[in-house]
């Protein structure tokens, strides 16, 4: 599943981004699952606030990283879409 630029993603109750001090990395905790979060995914999830739409998240990352907007959009919409399909992110 690919998210749309107009989707407004949010982390619902029961999904938590946490810094795991024992393993020294970020994890996304969800029902019966824990996803290891790399620096890029953590940067995306930090912008998921239930207010911005996916287009605004892509814009913010494009301003921050030296990469073409369309490349960032492809990655972000696929990642958020995947987490929507797994019912981790809501829209």
């Amino acid at each position: 599943m690919i998210a749309a630029e107009t989707d407004v993603p949010r982390l619902p109750r029961g999904v938590k981004l946490k810094y795991d001090a024992v393993r020294q990395r970020h994890v996304l905790l969800a029902p019966e699952r824990a996803f290891n979060i790399d620096a890029i995914a953590a940067a995306v999830l930090a912008l998921v606030d239930g207010q911005r739409d996916c287009g605004a998240i892509v814009d913010a990352l494009a301003a921050q990283y030296d990469e073409k907007r369309e490349v960032i959009a492809g990655d972000v919409l696929a990642m958020i879409g995947d987490l929507i399909a797994r019912r981790v992110i809501e829209r």
Partner: protein, 383 residues
């Protein structure tokens, strides 16, 4: 001191556990004949107290545990469940309530929400009142569960339905999927029965036929495609008919641990069925000490303990030789290759056993009751 070079031993393989199953109590209003609790159920006066459980939860967080599964029996039978849930939240632990949804669950759920509960896993025994209440051995149970599920969703808590599947409800798999959608669950576990403890003594009453299993798997696969983004369906395949064994608990002493109502710490809920292993208790040891040093945790850790055909198998770190308890139950040897594996010399006999039981007349259930364990069965070995 000089020591010869040696192969890595189990103690070198100790990582950090990710999940802890807290069996707070064995008390439960339901009497499911496949209950994962042991046949010898603990009574209330033997249970750990609140302060000890809080210490164990804090030690779990320090050890790297991420998810706490608050389970039982029925965990809401303990009045301190709200306090323990709040303690999980304070320690940054993800709390998962594994509940029947009946008894005190309905009156406690709002307080659990306020205490910071993260997720609810609700058992269902079937999709219809008659089927579900007969299997659970509790009249009115199914209707109470539906009301509980609605309240969970109304509060905004994520809901998973867990349905243990066997010959008494396998014809309702399609309706169970529809029920999960109607209740607005996010996840559904279609968990074919695993034959330990109560399920082992009831196996002939529970084992479905191969054709029914195949049909249920096809239904789930079709529903997964149809319901993408609506319902996530996880499936546990019945391993008597499987090609490869399940990687029980992700490898012995590798990812998870289980604390019993009296404080014994186990690699999995069934591991007390293996004779000769001594399990340390949280009354006498810290959790990290047990995880690292209890010989029972190191007994089957890693791959050094493995016999052939596991030892040289390319899947040895995918399924870790399968389930030690199943090897014990069916072969009388906990270190043998799980006969669920098609590479075990005993696999064909295991499948034949399942086929014979599934094709026979189903005996009555031996319902789970405290103090009601059946007399030990004669050792039934395939070997």
């Amino acid at each position: 001191m000089s020591a010869p070079a040696r192969a890595p031993q189990a103690a070198d393989l100790v990582g950090h556990p990710i999940g802890l199953l807290a069996e707070l109590t064995h008390r439960c209003p339901l009497r499911c004949p496949y209950c994962s609790n042991p046949l010898e159920l603990e009574r209330r006066d033997a249970e750990l107290d609140t302060a000890t459980w809080k210490r164990v939860l804090s030690e779990a967080a320090a050890l790297g545990v991420l998810h706490i599964h608050l389970s039982g029996g029925e965990p809401t039978a303990r009045p301190d469940l709200v306090e323990l849930t709040a303690h999980c939240a304070r320690e940054g632990l993800y709390s998962n309530l594994i509940t029947s949804g009946i008894g005190r669950a309905g009156t406690m759920i709002d307080a659990l929400y306020d205490a910071g509960l993260d997720h609810v896993q609700l058992s269902v025994q079937g999709a219809t009142v008659d089927t579900a209440d007969r299997i659970g051995g509790y009249k009115g149970g199914h209707v109470a569960k539906l009301a509980f599920a609605r309240r969970v969703v109304e509060l905004g808590l994520p809901l998973t339905l867990n349905a243990v599947i066997h010959r008494g409800n396998i014809h309702e798999v399609e309706e169970i999927i529809a029920l999960a959608v109607a209740l607005k669950a996010k996840r559904l576990e279609v968990a074919h029965t695993q034959y330990y403890g109560w399920a082992y003594v009831n196996r002939a009453a529970l084992m479905p036929e191969r054709a029914e299993v195949d049909r249920s798997i096809a239904l789930v696969e079709e529903a997964r495609r149809r319901l993408e983004g609506v319902l996530v369906i996880d499936m546990v395949i019945p391993d008597y008919y499987a090609r490869y064994p399940k990687p029980c608990t992700g490898g012995w002493g590798r990812k998870t641990l289980n604390v019993t109502p009296t404080g014994k710490v186990l690699p999995c809920h069934a591991s007390e069925s293996i004779p000769g292993l001594e399990f340390w208790t949280v009354r006498e040891h810290g959790l990290a000490d047990i995880w690292r040093h209890n010989p029972a945790f190191n007994a089957y850790r890693g791959t050094d303990w493995m016999p052939e055909p596991c030892r040289s198998c390319e899947r040895r770190e995918l399924d870790f030789g399968g389930c030690r308890c199943q090897a014990m139950a069916l072969l009388g040897d906990a270190a043998a290759t799980d006969p669920a594996c098609s590479r075990s010399p005993f696999h064909a006999r295991m499948e034949a056993l399942a086929t014979a039981e599934a094709g026979g007349v189903a005996p009555d259930y031996i319902y789970r009751t405290i103090g009601g364990a059946p007399a030990p069965q004669p050792a039934e070995t395939l070997s």
